[in-house]
């Protein structure tokens, strides 16, 4: 709980601030003011989840894992070499976009791997931005 002896850490502060807004302030408001307050509370929730996600994730490791997954998907030596030697600073995701646009995944067989990867990326992002959406809510 204590953060360098100064009280709650950043994530805990965000959670506390959000609860205070919802439990003590929102009930006193209506109309546009209430809408604005709920928007602020939502922003705090998103920021909190993203902060927690960063605390729990090794970002360098996640980036490497994503690059490896994309390279595996682009598994012909020529494309992989081009991606590796690219001097324009294009990221693996940019290469993936370029290959999608060029028709690399037009046939059903190659789409399986692509869609599995895209779903995995999408799920990870949704878990941070709106986990309720994955449960069927909005």
């Amino acid at each position: 709980m204590n953060h360098d002896g100064l009280g709650p850490d950043a994530l805990e502060l965000l959670t506390l601030a959000r609860r205070t807004l919802l439990d003590e302030v929102a009930i006193k408001l209506d109309g546009a003011a209430r809408y604005q307050l709920l928007l602020v509370a939502h922003a705090l929730a998103v920021a909190g989840r993203e902060l927690e996600g960063r605390q729990n994730t090794d970002n360098t490791g996640a980036d490497e894992s994503l690059s490896m997954s994309i390279n595996k998907l682009l598994d012909d030596p020529l494309t992989a070499a081009k991606a590796r030697d690219d001097k324009t600073g294009a990221t693996p995701l940019k290469w993936l976009c370029s290959e999608i646009r060029n028709g690399r995944f037009d046939n059903l067989k190659s789409q399986h791997g692509l869609l599995a990867l895209l779903r995995s990326i999408n799920r990870s992002t949704l878990e941070l931005t709106n986990p309720r959406f994955l449960e069927g809510g909005s």
Partner: protein, 342 residues
């Protein structure tokens, strides 16, 4: 609106309505203005064609206006065409292209009563005479929209829609090109959107006709009172397209406001909406085309959201609402993957 603005608007309204005097007795900003600025005004006219008291709305663009948005003169022409075709819309009154009045073009229309808040509409099953009745009314409104401009002599009675350009032979392809160019304007790669656009290219359907599509026909963009639909709003994106484009947009999950099982705007089933649309004299519909345009709807909304949130990251705006819109893109991407996943 500054006091000086109010004086200039009153003077302009006096001139346009041929009134002897015009007084703006009340003025307030209406919500939902991420792209457009709508201002409600209570106005008293002495004499002239609007003699008496009127509730009006002044509409002009916000700085965040999208490149796909029509100019105010074009939107005014569309509103006039819709009004003449019997679509429930606010009566358009006057267009002002003189930028010395407010610094940019605007138009004035009669104010319509009703609510447009999507979450309220989907939660209140009695609104609009009940959701079943509301659904049928919306279908009828859409049929009327899709028949606007079917008579090429429309321009003869002042409904000049030439600015929309020729009707495309393959409307889906034209839209794909447009959205691809929007995507290319974004700095970051978005593989799901790229995949969605590729899927659209591989599955282009044949349109039964090219009609006037509203392009923002959804819950949250119509006004409804206790009995029925009172107004279809926001005509800034209208253009020629496949009639299924509007149905796909209405069915996009984002516009169900949590009532996900009710595909047609959170108020009813897609099947019931299509049945009502066809009974009202609409164009042929099929599930495959509606699915196709639902994918397109999610791509379009995702790119618009990214462009809007980009205005915050670039420092051009500081709106929390716009800042948060970008965080919703993964939801649209989820839908794109679900709908294209086979």
């Amino acid at each position: 609106m500054t006091p000086d603005d109010a004086v200039r608007i009153a003077d302009w309204l006096k001139f346009r309505s041929a009134a002897s005097s015009v007084t703006i007795t009340d003025s307030r900003s209406l919500s939902g203005g991420a792209i457009q600025d709508n201002r409600a005004m209570q106005v008293h006219f002495d004499g002239g064609e609007l003699d008496g008291d009127h509730a009006l709305v002044l509409r002009m663009s916000n700085p965040g206006m999208l490149s796909a948005s029509h100019s105010k003169a074009e939107e005014f022409a569309l509103l006039k065409a819709a009004f003449a075709a019997g679509v429930s819309v606010p009566q358009p009154l006057y267009l002002c292209e003189d930028t010395t009045v407010l610094g940019q073009p605007f138009f004035v229309m009669q104010k319509i009563d009703g609510i447009a808040i999507g979450a309220k509409i989907v939660r209140d099953a009695s609104i609009g005479g009940g959701h079943a009745s509301l659904l049928r009314r919306l279908a009828l409104e859409l049929v009327r929209i899709h028949h606007i401009g079917t008579d090429q002599t429309d321009s003869d009675d002042g409904l000049d829609l030439k600015f929309l350009g020729p009707r495309p032979l393959e409307p889906a392809t034209e839209l794909i090109e447009q959205y691809q160019s929007w995507l290319d304007q974004l700095a970051e790669p978005h593989p799901v959107l790229e995949w969605g656009l590729r899927w659209l290219r591989l599955n282009v359907p044949t349109a039964p006709a090219t009609v006037l599509c509203h392009r923002d026909f959804r819950t949250g963009n119509y006004l409804v009172d206790a009995k029925t639909v009172t107004g279809i709003l926001d005509w800034e994106f209208a253009g020629w397209g496949d009639p299924a484009e509007d149905v796909g947009w209405l069915c996009c999950r984002s516009w169900r406001f949590g009532a996900d099982q009710k595909e047609a705007g959170g108020i009813g089933s897609r099947k019931d909406f299509v049945t009502a649309y066809l009974e009202a004299g609409g164009y042929p519909m099929d599930d495959a085309r509606i699915n196709y345009y639902e994918v397109m709807a999610n791509i379009r909304w995702a790119i618009i959201a990214l462009k809007q949130t980009g205005r915050v990251t670039s420092g051009a705006e500081s709106s929390l609402e716009l800042a948060l819109i970008g965080r919703r893109v993964p939801e649209m991407e989820f839908e794109i993957l679900r709908l294209t996943g086979g």
